[in-house]
Amino acid sequence: MHLSTRLGALALTCLLPAAVTALGQERIISITANNSASAFQIAGGPVAGGGQILVSDNDYWGVIRAAGDLAQDFGRVTGVNYTLSCGKAGAPQARYEYRGVNNLNNTHVRLAPLTPYLTLGGGG
């Protein structure tokens, strides 16, 4: 992921004038307990050795992927990666089925009803 510095700087200037603030969204997470007895610590303290994120393995694959990203993101800020669990011991690695478009013969196409597999390429 080595983008040109110029592109990075440009995107930052245009899109993120205020660094990592949550663009107008409500914040519920803080790096201090804010003197609140009900604050719930999700990093450091009792989970200093790394926490766990729980999902169901029947959820959408994008959700499971994002939860896996969050486990790593905790590592990026705390130094300890979190683990991801689906609540089952010995669960195999998440695996997703997809069907690629057959582009072996691009000279012949046919008209057919809309299908969820339709892909129209863009730009370039």
């Binding site: 050795g49 800020v77 669990s85 695996r95």
Partner: protein
């Protein structure tokens, strides 16, 4: 068949697979975040059915989510931040909302934005409800022309 009902169709290859994240064995005492989609995720549906999670403001919406601190959400877990999305993207937005708030920018990948390091993080509000985006379809364009990304792609 009317023209509007037809379009170019490509035949598809036989099913292929790609790998997602690895699952660790359950460690309920260490669980701090539970995430899932209403009507799709077993663990989220069980929390709703048990009355521990109120998703009335989120269920059935477009790309919405509720994040709530729940006591005793699953056996062995004393407390967790539960993220319940109305659909796949709602849940994903709820998950990445936590990423962003702990210090990992949405631009971590595309602009190499460094994470903000902090070993301690607290959820300081009991609940957050985020509604549907005010613009239904959004996107951003990555300039794939020369000289922007061409060299990077190759």
């Amino acid at each position: 068949m009317a023209v509007a009902d037809t379009c170019l169709q490509f035949t598809t290859l036989s099913p292929s697979f790609f790998a997602g994240p690895s699952y660790a064995d359950p460690a309920p005492a260490k669980v701090v975040v539970i995430a899932g989609t209403i009507g799709k995720s077993t663990v989220i549906d069980a929390l709703v059915a048990a009355g521990k999670l109120d998703v009335a403001a989120t269920k059935g919406k477009w790309e919405a989510f509720t994040s709530q601190v729940v006591n005793d959400p699953v056996p062995g877990t004393a407390r967790a931040l539960v993220i319940a999305g109305s659909d796949a993207r709602g849940t994903i937005f709820g998950i990445y909302d936590v990423s962003e708030q702990i210090g990992v920018s949405p631009w971590y990948f595309w602009t190499d934005t460094p994470p903000k390091v902090s070993k301690e993080h607290y959820v300081v509000a009991a609940k957050k409800v985020q509604g549907s985006p005010s613009v239904r379809y959004r996107g951003f364009f990555l300039n794939d022309e020369q000289p922007a990304l061409t060299g990077w792609v190759s």
